[in-house]
């Protein structure tokens, strides 16, 4: 906690920036420039701050578990194939589902793992496991990937939260890393969560906050405990977040980006993720609903892919255009894959013996298809990848040591389980 800077005292510059912010957010409207937020006045300085932050990560979470056979690991001509046809991708000899035409053109950016073999077959446990790389049944407070990235790639004095998420996402929170790294959840439609709208007029709020700053400064003269400092820092963070709140509002820019990302909440979430990561948020997770197709798998997947395809490819294109792709790791995954066999309701059930996860951007080699399943897709044929291996790959790509150690009480816990190995073939 000693590394966290604070401003218990009332600083001149903050009065100034608050006023500047009020002005600035009125003046901004063109959409192209990011509005003023916090102590930063120009998008130029935001970019340089993001530069300083280095790597970021966007997780596209396929809630319920997307089908590998109907997306990236197609089995044409087999009994398990289903009705979808293949289309050629940019990568010679590699084909994907016909409902991913835009992603097919981005395959040169993707590292596709077709050999996930995992161990938590259901939703709560799978969601937990694929967000923490540990089993839920251990009953240890493991932190999610987002919290870990927030801790290692976030900046303590940033105006924005370090772990932002939207839609159906993880269920573990910040665990043993503590509330400092808890997720900041935005509502599905992009609205800010509860308790982010002040009930006082701005002037009253401002004088009230200054009076608190005065009191904290008095208190600090005689009291040095870490706990007090943590309280003060969190209060300042909450105030700074509200100043930066306009950044979460995509009303102005969205019409211009809607075509690229597709007109959906998920697409808009992907655009917001792009905007937030560019502004320095190190981890953003956007969830897409309804992959759990025990019945009508094909109807369900066709509909989902039509939302997913433009949103995901739009994100990759937009990141590349902005020069951010090499710094931003984009992960596409859910908690389970889906069975090769099709059940009597035209559905596919949960499957963990051989399924697909896709990485792209920051630190990942594009145009690589790693591992494979057997002819019918009933098991991994080559290069099985565990939850731990996947997380070790993600952490390595982001520059975080996968064997980082923490303690719960006196018990040591590592970022990934013993024996987890990053996939070298996918790492730049």
């Amino acid at each position: 906690m000693n590394d966290q800077s604070t401003s218990g005292e009332c600083k001149k510059s903050e009065h100034f920036s608050r006023r500047a912010l009020l002005k600035g957010s009125l003046a901004t409207g063109a959409g192209a420039a990011i509005p003023n937020w916090g102590g930063l006045f120009h998008s130029h300085s935001i970019a340089s701050m993001a530069q300083k932050l280095g790597k970021r990560c966007i997780l596209l979470w396929m809630n319920g578990g997307a089908s590998q056979i109907d997306t990236f690991d197609m089995k044409p001509g087999k009994a398990t194939a289903g009705p979808f046809r293949e289309i050629q991708t940019k990568l010679p000899g590699y084909k994907v589902c016909e409902y991913l035409p835009k992603i097919a053109q981005q395959v040169d950016k993707l590292g596709i793992i077709r050999s996930m073999r995992t161990t938590s077959p259901d939703h709560p446990d799978g969601i937990y496991h694929m967000h923490t790389c540990y089993k839920q049944s251990e009953r240890m407070p493991h932190p999610e990937l987002g919290a870990m990235i927030a801790k290692y790639l976030g900046q303590t004095d940033a105006d924005l939260p370090s772990f932002v998420r939207m839609g159906p996402t993880g269920n573990a929170g910040s665990g043993y890393l503590g509330p400092r790294y808890e997720p900041f959840g935005i509502e599905r439609n992009g609205n800010m969560p509860y308790f982010t709208s002040p009930y006082l007029p701005a002037a009253n709020e401002s004088r009230r906050n200054d009076l608190l700053r005065f009191m904290e400064a008095e208190h600090k003269k005689e009291n040095s405990a870490d706990a007090y400092e943590s309280h003060r820092v969190a209060k300042e963070r909450a105030w700074r977040l509200l100043k930066a709140k306009s950044l979460f509002d995509t009303t102005k820019e969205w019409p211009k980006h809607q075509e690229l990302y597709g007109a959906s909440d998920f697409g808009r979430g992907c655009f917001l993720a792009r905007k937030l990561t560019e502004a320095g948020v190190p981890f953003v997770e956007i969830g897409q609903d309804n992959y759990d197709s025990h019945a009508d798998n094909f109807v369900c997947h066709k509909a989902n892919m039509q939302i997913l395809d433009p949103a995901w490819s739009g994100l990759l294109i937009d990141l590349e255009r902005a020069g951010q792709l090499q710094n931003t790791l984009v992960v596409w995954m859910g908690e389970v894959g889906r069975t090769p066999q099709i059940n009597n309701r035209a559905g596919r059930d949960h499957f963990i013996r051989g399924w697909t996860i896709v990485l792209a951007g920051g630190g990942i080699k594009g145009g690589v298809v790693f591992g494979s399943t057997d002819a019918d897709g009933r098991d991994v044929a080559t290069n099985p990848v565990s939850e731990g291996d996947l997380f070790a790959t993600i952490y390595t790509a982001l520059g975080v040591n996968p064997r980082t150690k923490h303690f719960v009480g006196t018990r040591p816990i590592w970022a990934t389980p013993e024996g987890s190995k990053p996939i070298k073939d996918l790492l730049l």
Binding site: P193, R207, R208, N223, S224, A225, A227, A238, H406, G409
Partner: protein, 546 residues
Amino acid sequence: MMPNSNFLRIKFACILMLVSGTMSLAQVAIKQNKPESTPLRQTIDKAVQESWKKEKIKAEGKCDDSTFLRRVYLDLLGTIPSYDVAKKFLADQDEKKRDKLIERLLNDTQFAQHQTTLWDLTLFGRNPPNQDATRNRTLFKQWLGEKFTKNEPFDLWVRDLILAEQEGSELYYAQFNNKPEDLTESFSRIFLGTQIQCARCHDHPFTELLQKDFYGMTGFFVRLVVMDQGASGSGEKQLKKFKIGEKNSGEVLFSGNQKELKPGKKGEPVKPKFLSGALLEEPSLPADYKEPEFKSGTKSMPKPQFSRKEKLAQWATAPSNPFFAKAAVNRIWSQFMGRGIVHPVDNFGTDNKPTLPDLLDNLTEQFIAHQFDTKWLIREIVSSETYQLGSKGENKESLPKHFERARIRPLSAEEILTVMKVAGGDPEQKSEGSTGEYFRRYFGEPTNGLGDFQGSLSEHLFLNNSSNVRAFISRKKGNLADTINLSKEPWDQRVDKMFLSVLTRYPKDSERAKFASYLQSEPKSENLVEEAIWVLMNMSEFRFNH
């Protein structure tokens, strides 16, 4: 309630043990050194002060009266004193006023309530398993509340908890329905101060604990059956009742290290074994014994011919148990001193030595000699100079290792809610429907895996912007904001009243001047008063017990 036969039987067993020559060294020591010869509070101070000398530590001096008043109110009752109480106490010239206050608080009905809240949280945690059963713990809290109201000896109420035969007490087991391993972890952690969960999956890496020790303990719980007795009410208020039965047969099957586990491998039955002690001696069942089939929906079952649960209760809570009394005093000590003499409190072991081993032994011996009298132990701790040290200074540690300064501990969610009501001048104020839930969500778990406090964004967004918090601050007939607005006293005096009501202290001159000018900065004071009270309730000074 009259002591039941069980109570008498167990008391008798204790006495027998004391006279029958099976006394531990500790008990011998007590005999030679009469418990009353040196009050425990002095033993505490002597041991702590000697350690400062040895470590060359400069300690804080005694805390001032207002700090003490707030601290001891929070620790004993889970709330702060009202304005009137604070004013009177601070003006009181009686040299014995601290001792008198401690005595008054220990006999306040809220004392038992607060201890119940703390132990309920220890036994269930913020997110207990078996949500349907544990969401509404009214009956459990009633049961435990009665124990604290009567100041029932610690060993006796824990014994009743293990036996789970009194209405309400069954819920501790019911949360671990069909999960005897989870129950073993919880029980050993809380009452034996031992983290044996590592040994669930592999032999413990740092201690001599083996997997067989873990499953040996599980053997005492494996035959328990949670019998649903139906429910009353519905939704969040639904109250479920249970009875605990015990079968005549059933063993833990042990299948080796989790990592080397092969599918299909059948486990070996493990006999119950007391932690670091002997195997349980039990009569063997007839070879042809067949357990009656247990149907779901069964509401009662006969007592087993031989009860493992009773054997566990006897062993666990006996004065000669090497873990029990020590774990209890260490936990109760940490409740007031911020950290245990062994810290974390549930992790005794060769790899985690006590900071003041002699003091811990001393506390343990005296606790046993005083028949596990919790109130006595608490009185001695809070009466010590060590507990009454100042909380200021340059030391950054929130929980100083050598107890050289008072600890800084975050208020619990329950405490913050209660304290806001008292501070706002309306202790009886009903909170809006979801207020309690919000408080638990935003203040419930404020620490990381090491127990360090971490302020969170959501906590402050809630404090800054929620109407749930504002409801305790804004002007209502008769509350603090109303009184201040209506008062004709000079602003300086009104500021004093605000500070004393919310922070249990008078303002410094600089603070008084600042607030007085703030409150007069507009012709109408209503908004300003509300804002000023909000400021005091948002201070780090308010967030912690210090």
